[in-house]
């Protein structure tokens, strides 16, 4: 009699434990990050430190789930600054520069998760050793960017919102695709993107290369299978790009190239088609308006009816909840 | 050597020389005074630790923090710029390991440094003087060999040739025989005597062997524990009593062919 009761209790415990495990697994999410590290995260994340992808905070409304950001959010990102100006209570403690995190500051915030880039893997290992969960990202294509955004969605329980944002991005991309698909191959322009130095070009790997492809441009540097490479000016003259874009945060602008006798034989310089990009993060939904900006500079005749600022403003309001013109003011344009 | 008179034409005068290292409490040199006459070979003799080397470094200007006076030809060498000093006396150091393997000729040529301007290189005249010096010392055949590849005795001769190229009236030699074998000791000292006589140089050298000092010097200055014990001709200075006092060894003085030899009594 007693034995049968014990047996029933054991079976009950067994069943309950299975259910318990099931419940646990449903709340723990397994991520493999860019460095190949496997990280188990309890979702939705409640206390995150976001180092590079801070533009996703307004986009996915993560204000209540983020406890810290890198200094760069406040110092470099006009969008973030504009939003803080409207909502001062959104301000978060900063944890150092994106390239050099202040680990102590991070630890003090007692985060559930740190999402950073893989620029300095040592920081990631260090935080890991201190018992902090870290996910390292480095999207090298538009597809990967979507994956990173969707990862953020999953981590913060904002899957639906992410799809909405991606849809808005898609609208702009579709607009671009629709226009440039009409351009015959022989009329396609050669486009290069210069980085920290005028001789550093974006090559075959990276979001920039994807964007150039998307807007119907040809990146002569794409044969180099790197993210960026230093090339001789001769090489650039040989490529003879039609349009040159300069990284928004570079220390020089188009006038430097226009005034330099070594560059005068480059078509883009001769025809004064060198443009410095706005200082926006490319690891953000804003890649879509950046792409539009670039497309309109490369093929202006195909976008004559498009009012860039209006499209951007519409996008900003839907994605970030703030007006483009307000942000423009904070970016000093 | 016999018959030369001392005390005439003092070329180098040392007066009341005191020296101690910075921060040390004891003096290494305790008021040494002596003179070296022009054209004579004066040897500073003393056992290890007597202060010979310190005295030598003070006289040659390597160490400058001494008390007292060192005069050459009546001029105090104290405030002399290096260039002027080098034209007054040349220094032949003990054999040592050089940093780079210069050729023998290059080493001798360096003796001309005080005659070559800072932005110049040695000229034809300098090259000629270096050649002459090599000839004089009898090592012309070693001219192109690396300094590091010749024997110790030959190296000492090279340094002497360098000092000759310097054309200074006073030549200082620091233990010129300490690293040499018997044959080379005699050869080198013979050479020094020959050249000194030929060029009328005033030679001051430090030695620790009394017999070598006796054979090759006109005057000997004996020092011990930083004090001058004696000064005078070898015959006058090197008595059995002095040797016993300075070296603590019983000796007997023997006269052979007019030369004085000190023989230790075992």
């Amino acid at each position: 009699m007693v034995r049968r009761t014990i047996f029933k209790v054991l079976v009950l415990i067994l069943i309950l434990s299975f259910i318990w495990v099931e419940v646990l697994q449903a709340e723990t999410f397994r991520v493999t990050d860019k460095l190949g590290r496997k990280v188990m995260v309890d979702v939705p994340v409640k206390r995150a430190v976001i180092v590079i992808t801070y533009e996703l905070i307004p986009a996915l409304n993560l204000w209540n789930q983020v406890v810290g950001v890198s200094r760069w959010a406040e110092e470099v990102c006009g969008l973030y600054r504009a939003i803080l100006n409207e909502n001062p209570n959104f301000r978060k403690p900063t944890v150092g520069a994106g390239s050099d995190l202040n680990v102590e500051a991070v630890l003090r915030l007692n985060p559930d998760l740190v999402i950073t880039w893989t620029y300095n893997p040592n920081t990631i290992w260090f935080l890991e050793k201190k018992g902090v969960k870290v996910i390292g990202i480095h999207p090298d294509s538009l597809q990967e960017l979507y994956e990173v955004m969707r990862l953020h969605g999953k981590l913060f329980g904002k899957e639906k919102r992410v799809e909405e944002v991606i849809k808005e991005m898609g609208k702009i991309f579709n607009l671009i695709r629709a226009r440039v698909s009409k351009i015959p191959p022989e009329k396609r322009k050669r486009v290069i993107h210069l980085g920290g130095k005028p001789t550093t070009v974006s090559c075959g790997i990276g979001i920039t290369n994807d964007v150039i492809k998307l807007i119907g441009g040809i990146n002569p540097a794409s044969s180099i299978k790197e993210r960026n490479a230093d090339v001789s000016i001769e090489r650039i003259i040989q490529w003879d790009p039609d349009v040159i874009f300069i990284w928004g945060s570079a220390g020089y602008d188009e006038n430097w190239l226009y005034g330099n006798s070594q560059w005068k034989y480059v078509k883009a310089v001769r025809e004064k088609r060198v443009y410095k990009l706005p200082r926006w993060s490319t690891w953000s939904p804003r890649i879509a308006p950046i792409a539009l900006y670039m497309a309109m500079k490369v093929y202006p005749e195909y976008f004559r009816d498009v009012n860039f600022e209006k499209v951007a403003d519409n996008f900003y309001k839907k994605v970030f909840g703030i007006s483009y013109y307000k942000v423009k003011h904070y970016e000093g344009y | 050597m016999v018959g030369k008179r001392l005390g005439v034409n003092s070329m180098l005068e040392v007066k009341e020389l005191y020296f101690r290292h910075k921060g040390e409490k004891r003096d290494i040199l305790k008021g040494i005074s002596f003179s070296a006459e022009k054209g004579f070979i004066t040897t500073i003799l003393g056992p290890n630790g007597s202060g010979k080397t310190t005295l030598f470094k003070c006289i040659s200007g390597i160490w400058e923090n001494y008390k007292g006076e060192v005069k050459v030809n009546g001029i105090s060498i104290d405030k002399l710029p290096y260039k002027k000093r080098a034209r007054l006396f040349s220094v032949v150091p003990q054999d040592h390991e050089p940093a780079f393997p210069y050729s023998v000729f290059d080493v001798v040529l360096m003796g001309r440094a005080s005659y070559v301007g800072i932005f110049s290189s040695p000229g034809k005249k300098d090259y000629e003087k270096a050649e002459t010096a090599l000839e004089l010392v009898g090592i012309r055949h070693l001219k192109d060999l690396p300094y590091t590849k010749i024997s110790g005795g030959e190296r000492q001769l090279v340094l002497i040739a360098r000092a000759i190229a310097q054309e200074a009236p006073v030549m200082l030699l620091d233990e010129p025989t300490s690293h040499l074998d018997f044959k080379n000791q005699i050869n080198v000292l013979k050479k020094i005597k020959e050249i000194a006589s030929l060029k009328g140089l005033t030679v001051i050298m430090t030695l620790h062997d009394p017999n070598l000092a006796s054979l090759f010097s006109d005057k000997i200055v004996v020092i011990n524990s930083g004090n001058k014990i004696a000064e005078g001709s070898p015959k006058e200075v090197l008595t059995e009593k002095l040797i016993k006092r300075v070296y603590g060894i019983d000796v007997v003085k023997v006269d052979i062919n007019g030369q004085n030899i000190i023989c230790p009594l075992i």
Binding site: S99, G196, A229, E234, I237 | R85, P101, S103
Partner: protein, 333 residues
């Protein structure tokens, strides 16, 4: 035999430089190169206003000249310092010059971009050496060991300062600093060549004139003094001139290591230690080594490999070979 070796070394920068003019990303036929050069110098063969002309005259020629002059500066400083410190393994950076120059550049790029970079690099290069000298100067005398130690300390100090600048600066400028620190000739132009001539006039020429003195200096302080050399003053002059040369070189093209250490040592092994020949041959050797390394770095792949990697990869094996063959003798040990 030695005479022939010396002649080859002396002629090598011109041979390498000449060949380098024919090589580059933008293929220019050898005949065209000759025509352009003759057109520039003797005004024959009117080639017109073609891109090839800009390539040869505006891009390759200044780049080759700059590489040669920088190589000579680094090598000249190296041979001087090796002579003064009686140590064939001493290098221009051991006194902290490069770290000081690096700091000058970093601080200019980061915060004082209105000032010319070369000027700041030089100012701080000299500051570093002056600091090292002052720190080492105990009782009115400077022993060479103490000087080396102070140099190492000063170098560490300025390197730390550079890290601080990198930390404080905003991310855009950070990129520029990082790129500059890596060392490259890709932005070489005639302005740079003109600036580098300062290094020649106020650095290399005085060292060349004083070169015989180095023989005497290398005997050691005591002997040099006894031979009539004002050691403290001359050493100061030598260090000053070589610092100037290195600072100019570094300010123009970043940090390129190995040349100042390697070339004098190699030349000494081939020719002998007499500075009368060693100095001019080190200058020539440094120039041709740098030209060769830069030409390799810009022609081997479609992008520029950092030239410091080339100098290390080519210098090291050759050095090992010479060491094995008869290095001990060259050291006089």
């Amino acid at each position: 035999m030695k005479g022939i070796k010396a002649l080859i070394i002396l002629a090598s920068p011109f041979i390498f430089g000449w060949i380098a003019l024919f090589l580059g990303a933008y293929g220019v036929s050898p005949i065209m190169v000759l025509k352009i050069l003759l057109n520039e110098t003797l005004h024959v063969f009117n080639v017109g206003d073609i891109p090839e002309k800009a390539i040869i005259v505006d891009i390759r020629l200044p780049r080759v000249l700059l590489a040669g002059i920088v190589g000579a500066c680094l090598s000249g400083a190296g041979v001087t310092l090796q002579g003064i410190f009686r140590n064939p393994l001493v290098d221009p950076f051991i006194l902290g010059i490069s770290a000081g120059a690096a700091f000058g550049c970093a601080i200019t790029i980061g915060f004082l971009s209105f000032l010319p970079i070369q000027f700041m690099a030089f100012i701080f290069g000299i500051t570093a050496v002056a600091l090292a000298y002052t720190v080492a100067r105990t009782q009115g005398e400077v022993s060479r060991l103490t000087l080396i130690l102070s140099g190492v300390i000063v170098s560490a100090f300025f390197t730390a300062l550079v890290s601080i600048v990198k930390f404080l600066v905003d991310p855009n400028k950070l990129q520029s600093i990082v790129y500059w620190l890596m060392g490259s000739f890709s932005l070489a132009d005639w302005k740079g060549v003109k600036v580098s001539l300062l290094g020649v006039i106020f650095g290399l020429i005085p060292i060349f004139l004083m070169r015989w003195r180095l023989n005497v200096m290398s005997l050691g302080e005591e002997e040099a003094k006894a031979l009539g050399v004002n050691v403290s003053r001359d050493r100061l002059l030598f260090i000053g001139f070589s610092t100037f040369a290195v600072a100019i070189a570094t300010s123009l093209c970043g940090i390129i290591g190995w040349v100042g250490l390697m070339v004098p040592h190699l030349v000494r092994m081939l020719i002998g230690p007499d500075h009368k020949t060693l100095v001019p041959l080190s200058l020539a050797g440094g120039a041709s080594f740098m030209i060769a390394a830069d030409t390799i770095s810009r022609t081997i792949t479609s992008f520029d490999i950092p030239v410091g990697i080339i100098t290390a990869l080519t210098g090291a094996p050759f050095f090992i070979y010479l060491m094995k063959r008869g290095g001990k003798e060259a050291w006089g040990k």
